[in-house]
C-alpha cells in the first residue's frame, strides 16, 4: 500500500471501528445502568445478560480491531512480552503473598510508552490469553482493560509520570473507572459470583439492601482502586529508574515527553 489513498481510507476505517466500539460500550452501560430496564433485577430471565455480554464483547472486538492496525511491527513485538510480564508478575505477587493482584503492570507500561492504542490491544488480548488457557471467566471483562489502557495512556500524555506523586492519583481514578465499568458484567452475566471472596462481599452488600448492580459496583470499588494505585505507583518508580536510552526508543514516549521534561540532548556534530 505505497500510495496515499488506501492508507487514508484504512486510517479512517480504523478510527470508525474504534469509535463504533466505544459507542456500543457506552450505550450498553447507559442502557443497563441509566435506563434500568424494568424488572431487570428481579429474575435471571431478562436479557440483561445478553445485552451486557454482547455489548461489551462486540465493543471490545471493534476497538481491538481498529487499534491493532495502527500499530507498527516494533510495537506489536512488544505486546507478547508485556502480556507475559502481566501474568508472571501477577503470579510472583501471589507467590510472595502480597495483598494485591498487580496483573496489569505490562498493560500500563505499554500504554505509557507506546500509547493507548497499543495498551488497548495488550489489555484485551491479555484477557483472551486467559480464555485460551482454560479460564474463560475474564473474557467478558476485556473491555475493562480498554478503560485502564486509555486512562493510563492519557495520564502519560498529560505528564502524570513526570512527577512521583501523580501516578498514585491516576491509578486511583483508573481503579474507580474500572470498577464501575466491570460491575454490569459481574452482575448480569455472573450474578455477582466471579469468585469466592468477591461473591461473599457482593452478598454482604445485598444483605444491606443494595441492588445487585450496586453491590457489584461497591465490591469493585473496594479492591480495584487500591490495586491500580499500587500498579501505577510501581510503573512510575520503574520508569523513573530506567536509563533514558530505553525510553528514547518509543516514539510515543519521546513525542509526549512522558517521563521527563528535561530538554533533548542536542544532536551532536561529528568531530574533525
Amino acid at each position: 500500500m505505497s500510495d496515499q489513498a488506501p492508507l487514508d481510507t484504512r486510517r479512517s476505517r480504523n478510527r470508525l471501528l474504534v469509535a463504533a466500539g466505544a459507542v456500543i460500550v457506552v450505550a450498553t452501560y447507559a442502557y443497563l445502568v441509566v435506563a434500568q430496564p424494568a424488572g431487570m433485577a428481579d429474575s435471571g430471565t431478562t436479557r440483561a445478560g445478553l445485552i451486557a455480554m454482547a455489548g461489551y464483547v462486540i465493543g471490545a472486538v471493534l476497538i481491538a480491531a481498529g487499534s491493532i492496525h495502527q500499530l507498527p511491527t516494533t510495537t506489536i513485538a512488544m505486546i507478547p512480552v508485556a502480556i507475559a510480564v502481566n501474568i508472571v508478575v501477577g503470579q510472583l505477587v501471589a507467590v510472595l503473598g502480597l495483598p494485591v493482584y498487580l496483573d496489569s503492570i505490562g498493560t500500563v507500561l505499554v500504554s505509557v510508552l507506546a500509547g493507548p492504542a497499543a495498551g488497548v490491544v495488550t489489555g484485551i488480548l491479555a484477557n483472551v490469553i486467559w480464555g485460551l488457557t482454560l479460564n474463560p471467566i475474564p473474557l467478558p471483562f476485556a473491555v475493562v482493560q480498554v478503560v485502564i489502557a486509555v486512562l493510563a495512556g492519557t495520564a502519560a500524555r498529560i505528564g502524570v509520570f513526570r512527577r512521583v506523586y501523580l501516578p498514585p492519583v491516576a491509578g486511583l481514578v483508573t481503579g474507580v473507572a474500572a470498577a464501575v465499568v466491570s460491575a454490569p458484567i459481574s452482575a448480569f452475566v455472573f450474578g455477582g459470583a466471579t469468585g469466592g471472596g468477591t461473591g461473599a462481599i457482593v452478598g454482604a452488600f445485598q444483605a444491606m439492601g443494595q441492588s445487585l448492580l450496586a453491590s457489584t459496583t461497591l465490591q469493585g470499588l473496594l479492591s480495584d482502586p487500591l490495586d491500580k494505585l499500587i500498579t501505577f505507583t510501581v510503573v512510575g518508580i520503574l520508569l523513573a529508574a530506567l536509563p533514558s536510552r530505553f525510553l528514547q526508543r518509543f516514539p510515543f514516549a519521546r513525542e509526549h515527553r512522558v517521563v521527563t521534561t528535561a530538554p533533548l540532548a542536542p544532536p551532536p556534530s561529528p568531530s574533525e
Binding site: T74, P80, S244, P251, A265, P266, P268, P270, S271
Partner: protein, 291 residues
Amino acid sequence: MIQLADVSYAYPDSGRFVLEHVDLRIEPGTITGVVGASGAGKTTLAKILSGFIPHVDGGQLSGSVVIGGRDLSGLPLAACVSQVGLVIQNPFNQISGARYTVRGELAFGMENLGTPRDEMASRVAEVAGLLRITDLLDRSPYELSGGQQQLVAIASMLVLRTPVLVMDEPTSQLDPVGTRMVFGVLSRLRGAGTTIVVFEHKPELLHAHADRLHVLAGRRIAASGSPGEILSDPRTDQWGVSATRYTRAARLAREQGLVPAEAPLPVSFEQAAAFFGWSARTRPPSPEDAR
C-alpha cells in the same frame, strides 16, 4: 558490493556518536569478519548494514550506505530486508513464537513474504539438513537448548535466501563442534555467491573462514586486513580483540629473541606447529611458512 562512506551515527536523544567516519567496502561473495571490544558499536554497525538504522531505530545517520548499487536510506525497510538478512545476537529473541514447531517457525518469514507452499517446504527441508536440525523440526522452539535455538535462529534467516547476510555473534551459544559446523555452512553459502558479514570474536574460526577482517575501535574502523594480518597485529590487546594462544606464545618468543623479529606470527594451530617446529630446529621461519 557493500560500500559505507563516511558513516556517522548517534542514537536518538543521546547527544553522542557511537560510530564516526566509518568507511567500509565489502566485496560480493566473501565472508567479512568485524571484530572489536564489547561496546565498540558492533551491533549498531550490524543494524546500519541491514537498514534498521535509521528506518526503525531513528537517530542521526550521516554518510552513505550503498548495497548492490542502491542507497539503503532511500529504500523502504521492506526492500532493505529483502536484500540483507540480519541474524540478531540473542536467539531467544530471534524466534518469533508465532508458530508452535521449529518447522512452522522456519516457514514464518516466508509466509509473511508470500512464498508458495511447496517452495516453503523444500527450503525448510534444505536448510534444516544443512544445519543438522532436521530431527528438531517437529519440536517446540522453546523447549530447545540455547545452542539449538541459535541454529534455528540462523536457519530462520537462511531460508529467506537474501543475497547478503549480516550475523551478530551467531555462535555465542554453540559448542566448538556446532561453531565449526556453522562456519562450514557459511563457507558453502559464500561459494554459492552469498555475501556474509559476521560479527564474531573467535579468532581461530575467523582465521579459517573469513576473507577479510575489520577492527572496530574508538568509534571507527581502526584497521582492515587479512585475518592473518589483523589477528597477529601487536595492537590486538589495545583493540580488545583476543589473539590465539599461539600468537601470544610466538610473540613472547619473539620478545625473548628466540626467533627473528621479522618472522610473521602464527594464528592457527597449523601455523603455530610450523612456527615452533622450525624454531625448535633453530632455523627461523620464512614469511612463506606462516602464510
